[in-house]
């Protein structure tokens, strides 16, 4: 991410995490310069916040990665690579499939959330990824019975 082209000097070393920059809508260095022309003050604020978050994010990233292995819920969308962490920061999703990946985490409205049947059309890629993670977790806790079932299910998705 060539944030350095617009914000010079001090933020050079913070340009590594493309994901974070993207989530802020700063996906396109070209359009950044336009954003600057249109909303100079907002832009400055945006960059300042971004720099703060990038530092924070780099520290959190490793812990986050480990945490995601432990839980059996997906924290990364296999279709678009968006993460739950980014959702919490931006209140946005990366692609329509994020709805079925992060859906349970995002309680929209106060209605009953138990109608899981209503969340339809999970894409095969997501279903597969979920199974893989569950399988990994089962193996780690040495629950080989479950692991065998999951492995069979996985085979069927091939």
């Amino acid at each position: 991410m060539q944030l350095t082209q617009i914000v010079n000097g001090e933020v050079t070393e913070l340009t590594l995490c493309e994901a974070c920059a993207k989530s802020k809508g700063l996906f396109d260095p070209q359009s950044l310069s336009f954003a600057e022309q249109f909303f100079p003050e907002e832009f400055k604020k945006k960059i300042d916040n971004l720099v703060k978050e990038l530092v924070q994010h780099k520290q959190n990233e490793q812990e986050q990665a480990q945490e995601s292995v432990r839980t059996d819920m997906l924290t990364r969308c296999p279709v678009c690579d968006f993460t739950l962490e980014l959702y919490r920061k931006t209140e946005r999703f990366g692609c329509p499939d994020c709805y079925s990946v992060f859906g349970p985490e995002v309680n929209k409205g106060e209605e009953t959330t138990s109608n899981s049947g209503a969340v339809d059309e999970v894409s095969p890629a997501i279903a597969r990824k979920k199974l893989e993670q569950q399988l990994q977790a089962a193996i780690e806790r040495e629950d080989y019975e479950t692991a065998a079932i999951l492995r069979d299910k996985l085979k069927k998705t091939d």
Binding site: E91, R92, P96, Y99, K108, E121
Partner: protein
């Protein structure tokens, strides 16, 4: 239609179709849709945006009025051209800052703007200019008709729990949002706008200045709009907003009557209208914001009968004034005068051009329009 042709025609909100009303400027339905299996524009790459545009553009081009309309990729529009589209209220602010793979289409009639890779893959704005009888439910039906035609040919992201999926989960649902624009000069002179703002909040409606970049109250124009609508609640919300708009218009009329009922109030109102008239007659330099404030007073004065054209109908005069909002705006002025007036600034040109506007228009403080009583 090329850019020059586009700027020669008034954009939808600035057409005055009739009805002796200067209060309700117009309505807009914003509709958004996304394609299944593609990243949202804010999380996308140049290639991703191009892929989305390649799917959407051929379908959009076949919609009625688009072949002879205006189309451009944002990267091919200059800074000035974007500003002009913003002045004409034909582009969202978010879209104005977009580049590669982001496209804008405007139909021939210039009452629909299609934006590809805005906040969402597709955002459509359906405009209707002011009338005494705003028809938000009809506007929704019109939007739905277009959306249905699109959905037949596109794989639109949707599920039963969330409705139409948007980049912000909190905004998913019907994918529709309603806007109205009102001019409330007397209420703002009377200092009632804060009260209105608080009231609207309680009614689940938002209000913001129409010309936010020029200040909070420039032209006494306000946008009143709903949050993105949930599925199933569209018609109710349309009727809700419609009722509120009529109530506000009613309050504005009441405020005018109340003001003219006392000598003190009458002098305040008539002073503002006469000064506005005088400015257009005698000013030698004028900024855009000043012009907009002046026109607001003249429009009110015309509806109240203090300002009267002698050779044309009041409606015709109201329409002429409405057309000045986009044409006299800074970037458009620069654009239309660049060839003819090199050494003449637009502050000088503006009052010169406006002088024609009040030709054969008289000011009188004694005649109350009978319609208005």
């Amino acid at each position: 239609m090329n850019f020059k042709t586009l700027t020669k025609q008034a954009s939808s909100w600035f057409k005055n179709p009739g009805g002796a009303c200067d209060i309700i400027i117009g309505t807009m339905v914003r509709a958004v849709r996304n394609l299944r299996g593609h990243r949202f524009p804010g999380w996308s790459t140049a290639e991703g945006r191009k892929a989305v545009a390649d799917i959407l553009l051929p379908v959009l081009r076949e919609l009625p009025g688009n072949k002879t309309g205006f189309e451009a990729e944002m990267k091919d529009l200059s800074y000035e051209q974007r500003r002009i589209l913003l002045e004409r209220k034909q582009l969202s602010h978010c879209m104005a800052a977009r580049q590669d793979g982001c496209h804008v289409l405007i139909n021939k009639k210039q009452d629909i703007t299609y934006m590809v890779n805005e906040e969402e893959h597709l955002a459509i704005h359906f405009y209707e200019s002011g009338t005494d009888n705003i028809q938000l439910t009809k506007q929704i039906q019109r939007a739905r008709k277009t959306l249905a035609a699109l959905e037949k040919r596109l794989d639109i992201a949707h599920n039963r729990r969330d409705g139409y999926l948007t980049s912000m989960p909190a905004e998913s649902g019907s994918g529709l949002q309603l806007y109205t624009v009102l001019q409330l000069p007397c209420m703002s002179i009377a200092g009632m706008m804060q009260q209105v703002t608080r009231g609207l909040e309680k009614l689940m409606l938002n209000i913001s200045p129409f010309y936010s970049e020029l200040g909070d109250d420039t032209g006494h124009l306000y946008v009143i709009y709903t949050a993105p609508l949930i599925c199933g609640g569209e018609e109710d919300m349309a009727n809700h907003l419609r009722n509120i708009v009529y109530t506000l218009a009613e309050h504005e009329m009441q405020a005018r009557l109340k003001m003219t009922s006392t000598e003190e109030g009458f002098s305040v109102l008539i002073d503002k209208i006469s000064r506005a008239y005088g400015l257009l007659e005698y000013a030698r330099r004028m900024e855009y914001a000043e012009l907009i404030n002046t026109l607001a007073m003249l429009r009110m004065g015309t509806v109240c009968g203090y300002v009267q054209p002698t050779d044309r109908s009041p409606n015709q005069f109201l329409a002429e004034m409405a057309a000045c909002y986009p044409t006299m705006a800074p970037y458009n002025m620069q654009y239309i005068t660049q060839d003819v007036a090199e050494n003449c600034s637009q502050e000088i040109l503006r009052p010169l051009l406006c002088r024609n506007l009040i030709k054969d228009v008289i000011f009188t403080q004694n005649t109350l329009n009978s319609e208005y009583e």
